[in-house]
Amino acid sequence: MDGTQSSNNSETDIWSEAGTTRVPFQVYQDAEIYAQELEKIFYGSSWNYVGLECEVPNSGDFRRNFIGEREVLMIRKGDGALSVVENRCAHRGAQLCQTLSGNAGSAIMCPYHQWTYTLDGELTGMPFKRGINGKGGLNPDFDMKAHGLVALRVESLNGVVFASFDHDVPTLKEYLGPDMVKYFTRIFNGRGLRVVGYERQVIDCNWKLQMENLKDPYHAGILHLFLISFGLFRLDQESKCLVDDSKGHSVLMTNKGTEEGKEDTGGVKIAAPDFALTDHDLIQPRLEFGDNTTLSIQTLFPSIIIQAQCNTLATRQVIPKGPGSHELVWTFFGFKDDDDEMKNLRLRQANLMGSAGYVTLDDAEALEFSQVGLSGSSAGDAAVLEIGGTDCESNDHLVTESLIRGFYMKYRDIMGHGKAGA
């Protein structure tokens, strides 16, 4: 396809140009586009984060999660391997497990009519299979093998587990590409992981706005008065913005500046100048990854973010809940061999992040302002993404929207919305 000209699909017409400097507001609110995103992106050829291996250490342990709007279970099997199955009974569709996590023992049993499955999702039996006294029950030629749970393809990389509904998807490492694997394994470097705790929050905006926010270094040096005031983030800091070859993944990294130099804020109004912070630990990271980077945010298509701000580490999973809302699940983690000081730092620096975070509170609010602002817009109205030019390339500066433009290149490609960049 070539831009909007040769389109035989009306959705492609919403993009006014071949590139991605204009993102039509429909993609944030149209129910039909949303339904297609679920099918083509989340249930298609993508790898989706489902959790950390350390969340399911023992045989039978499960963690319930979402891919798109479908519920899945990440399960530790008897042989130590992992399976991911859909949390929906093959009989009449009941939800199998209700708790967020637990132990299923050696089999998954549906609470409704007790159909029973292996931890891989194979159907093994049900009560009254042969009826009573030869009456009732299942037809003898009922094919048990054809009625298992939907099983997903699973891969894990240094303790982080991904799954795909598409069994023909390229390997996880191919999907991420060498650059993204390099930054992924900078954090997940093989050290044993531990969960520090969870936070969950509903943010009433389209899931893509959340992804955009983490691909938007431009806002971070403007919106986040707290970061700017204490030198944790400024747009003039030594930094990197990397977009991978597929354009869908990215990482942005900065090195902390000093607390002085509040004048270098590019005209941004900062907090009261006499606001001195009592808790300096909050902004004094202990370098732990062998470099001077104090903030790194990696976003992997479609919907997982890996955050390392000072020593507060977390995966942030974006779960779509209709066109106008999403759930954000934060899994704060550390390493098994963290010393006491580090354990305490991770708890205290978590004040920066999460639903009440000094930093992320601003984001959630601004994202809701966006959704409110764009709803009711007319066809043809679009977001303008021209900060840092029109391309989707990597940069050594932060005043750019190229990471977001990259995301929409990949998005258009998968959605069949014309050929981006043509």
Partner: protein
């Protein structure tokens, strides 16, 4: 919180009324402001955490807020008022009756709380239900929180948490 605490139920009405008043003044510093007063309900060294019941039951201490001194509480009050961007809102705490035990180290006070939030458009929603599990001590004739743990049930929080709870 310590299981080994030896505690006696407090039946002295004067003490109970003082603790109830402390809690009411505390929520008023948030609901009615000014927020600058909020840190001073705590002892210099203290523990203020807001932890989901989900984390708490898993033995995880991670909270949406965790402050260990009055200074850190002042940081939060100042940041909320001068270094944060959010839509204005009204917060309203509703407290249930308080159970008080004397632990020897201070008064252990527990009460249920429902916290509502009202948007600029005038819509009110339930932000969370929670329990306050507090350790209260007397300092120079004034009751203060040495610990305040807000353990909230609503672990899928329907919005951001702007103000302390």
């Amino acid at each position: 919180m310590d299981q080994s605490e030896i505690s006696q139920p407090v039946t002295d009405d004067v003490v109970l009324r003082r603790i109830e008043r402390l809690q009411l003044n505390y929520i008023s510093s948030i609901d009615e402001g000014p927020l600058d007063n909020w840190p001073h309900f705590f002892t210099d060294k203290c523990l203020y955490t807001v932890v989901s019941r989900d984390n708490f039951d898993r033995g995880m201490e991670l909270g949406v807020m965790r402050f260990e001194s009055v200074g850190m509480l002042i940081d939060r009050a100042t940041a909320t008022q001068h270094a944060a961007v959010f839509a204005p809102r009204i917060i309203r705490h509703l407290l249930g009756p308080t159970l008080v035990d004397d632990t020897g180290e201070g008064y252990r006070s527990r009460c249920n709380v429902a916290i509502y939030q009202t948007s600029p458009d005038g819509d009110t929603m339930l932000l969370m239900t929670a329990i306050y599990n507090d350790l209260i001590v007397e300092q120079d004739g004034v009751l203060k929180f040495k610990e305040k743990r807000v353990i909230y049930d609503t672990h899928r929080i329907p919005d951001s948490i702007v103000y302390p709870l």
